[in-house]
């Protein structure tokens, strides 16, 4: 039981929990974006992809529960560590406080984290459950009939002629509202800022960062976050500009 105690009850252990769950979540958001960028191709692609994911059944629920557990642990570790750290200063704060080396992104992790949580909840209500915009929700609009096959790794997972939910139309109608689109753009912007510190910071926590390659690491993380933001900007941005119809 030492293992559990050292990982969940010590400062470094909780930071390791934060870093490892962070790796999983970064992997998820990156994969999620790459999958969704198929919206720019024929409707067969994104609709066939969505149908494939829905058809996974228990595997889909296992993945969902795993991601939910990671989000939960990530928030738990952040909350516990923050509360402890706030108590560590004592009753008297500094009269003058100057930042020396902390990056902009690192100073607003808590704020960007709150926005990301709000965004996740809205995003689930919007495209998974259909509470936010029921009129354009996938289950309430005309179904789509696949014109060709959709393949994953060369295997046909959604065959031509299958009637599937029209996810592409749901996305385009959903982002037709400028308020929704702008909220998405701001939220993913702040998520990218959250990742700018988090994706670099996790290497430090796992003990894989040092002076010899910190420049390369920072450049790679910055590039990744910029690409992530631009990729996410493309979907609501494409709808607002009328490129995606």
């Amino acid at each position: 039981m030492d293992l559990v105690r050292n990982l969940f009850c010590s400062s470094i252990g909780r930071k390791l929990v934060m870093a490892v769950t962070g790796v999983v979540l970064i992997g998820f958001v990156a994969g999620h974006l790459v999958g969704n960028l198929q919206v720019f191709e024929s409707p067969d692609r994104i609709n066939g992809y969505a149908h494939f994911l829905q058809s996974l059944g228990p595997a889909l629920w296992f993945a969902r529960m795993f991601l939910l557990a990671c989000v939960g642990l990530h928030i738990w570790a952040a909350t516990v560590l923050t509360l402890e750290s706030q108590g560590a200063r004592g009753d008297e704060p500094y009269r003058v406080k100057r930042w020396i080396s902390a990056t902009f992104a690192s100073r607003y992790m808590r704020g960007t984290g709150y926005v990301v949580l709000a965004f996740i909840l809205y995003h689930l209500a919007h495209f998974t459950v259909g509470l936010a915009q029921p009129a354009s929700f996938k289950e309430n609009i005309a179904h789509y009939v696949m014109k060709g096959d959709y393949h994953v790794l060369g295997v046909t997972v959604t065959a031509a002629g299958t009637e599937v939910l029209d996810v592409r139309t749901m996305m385009i109608r959903g982002f037709g509202s400028p308020f929704v689109s702008i909220f998405y753009i701001v939220a993913v912007g702040l998520l990218s800022l959250h990742l700018l510190h988090g994706a670099e910071s996790l290497f430090q926590t796992l003990g894989w960062r040092n002076r010899r390659w910190e420049g390369g690491l920072r450049a790679a993380v910055t590039l990744l976050c910029a690409a992530y933001f631009l990729g996410n900007l493309a979907i609501p941005g494409g709808v607002l500009l009328g490129v995606l119809r």
Partner: protein, 263 residues
């Protein structure tokens, strides 16, 4: 040769004793010579206060040459003053000019309670050291030189970590009052060397657990600590400690235990 002296105003935290309420008091200090150290400027202030029958400002100091880690002021929001890689005692008044207002505060952390004015009790660091900052090698007469070979790069890195003077500026600079840079330096300087290997896992587990128990915060990887460190200890050692800790946690959980062993 005459040197032009100047005047500054210091706004100092005054607190009569542990747990008692404190407040900032402003004092003008005249006759400041630019070649004085910051502590010598405080000596001039205290000289004046003593002559006028007031209580002098208590501040911690000892070697005044940057190697003992006793001085501990937060000057205008940065531990040890405006410069990079120097302690308060080696901060000179030439960094200031006529009319400057300088705010001087004690290191703030719950595990470092204020004893009086600017003096804090940093014995929490001693308790962390007692938990694992030692080796169990035979101490006696000096061993044959080079009987335990240590590669030059490893010895240099261990020396970088061993530079830590335990002043506590890392804790004072950290928004979380985390002692990770101190603990990382102590864990690494022994953990890098062959003599430190037998207790390597036990050391990191014990020192981190003591650090947590004393109420220090955790690290958010903003590296304010290494930027404020008068000995420029690198936060690379924190990464090293994190890795050592992760390894120790798994190794200690799965290590075989001999039959009949107590645990």
């Amino acid at each position: 040769m005459s040197t032009t002296t100047f005047s500054v105003t210091v706004r100092v935290w005054r607190q009569p004793g542990p747990g008692q309420p404190g407040r900032f008091v402003e004092y003008p200090v005249g006759g400041v010579n630019p070649d004085m150290s910051f502590l010598e400027m405080l000596d001039v202030l205290n000289d004046g206060l003593t002559r006028s029958g007031d209580e002098p400002v208590a501040f911690a100091h000892d070697c005044r040459e940057g190697i003992c880690g006793t001085c501990s002021l937060v000057i205008d929001g940065k531990p040890h003053g405006p410069h990079h890689g120097v302690a308060s005692c080696q901060t000179y008044m030439r960094s200031y000019k006529e009319g400057d207002v300088i705010v001087v505060e004690p290191f703030r952390a719950r595990p470092f309670p204020v004893i009086k004015d600017l003096v804090t009790d940093r014995s929490a660091f001693d308790r962390i050291q007692q938990a694992g900052g030692f080796i169990s090698a035979r101490t006696g007469s000096a061993p044959e030189a080079n009987s335990v070979p240590v590669p030059k790069e490893v010895a240099d890195l261990a020396m970088d970590a061993a530079q830590c003077i335990g002043c506590g500026a890392c804790v004072a600079a950290c928004k979380n009052s985390s002692a990770m840079l101190f603990v990382a330096a102590k864990v690494s300087h022994l953990g890098l060397l062959p003599q430190g290997q037998p207790e390597r896992d036990k050391r990191v587990l014990a020192m981190v657990s003591t650090m947590d128990g004393l109420g220090f915060g955790s690290c958010t990887n903003q590296y304010e600590c290494s930027a404020a460190c008068p000995k420029l200890i690198s936060h690379d050692f924190i990464a090293r400690m994190n890795r050592d800790y992760a390894k120790a946690v798994f190794r200690s959980a799965f290590r075989p235990v001999a039959a009949g062993a107590g645990d």
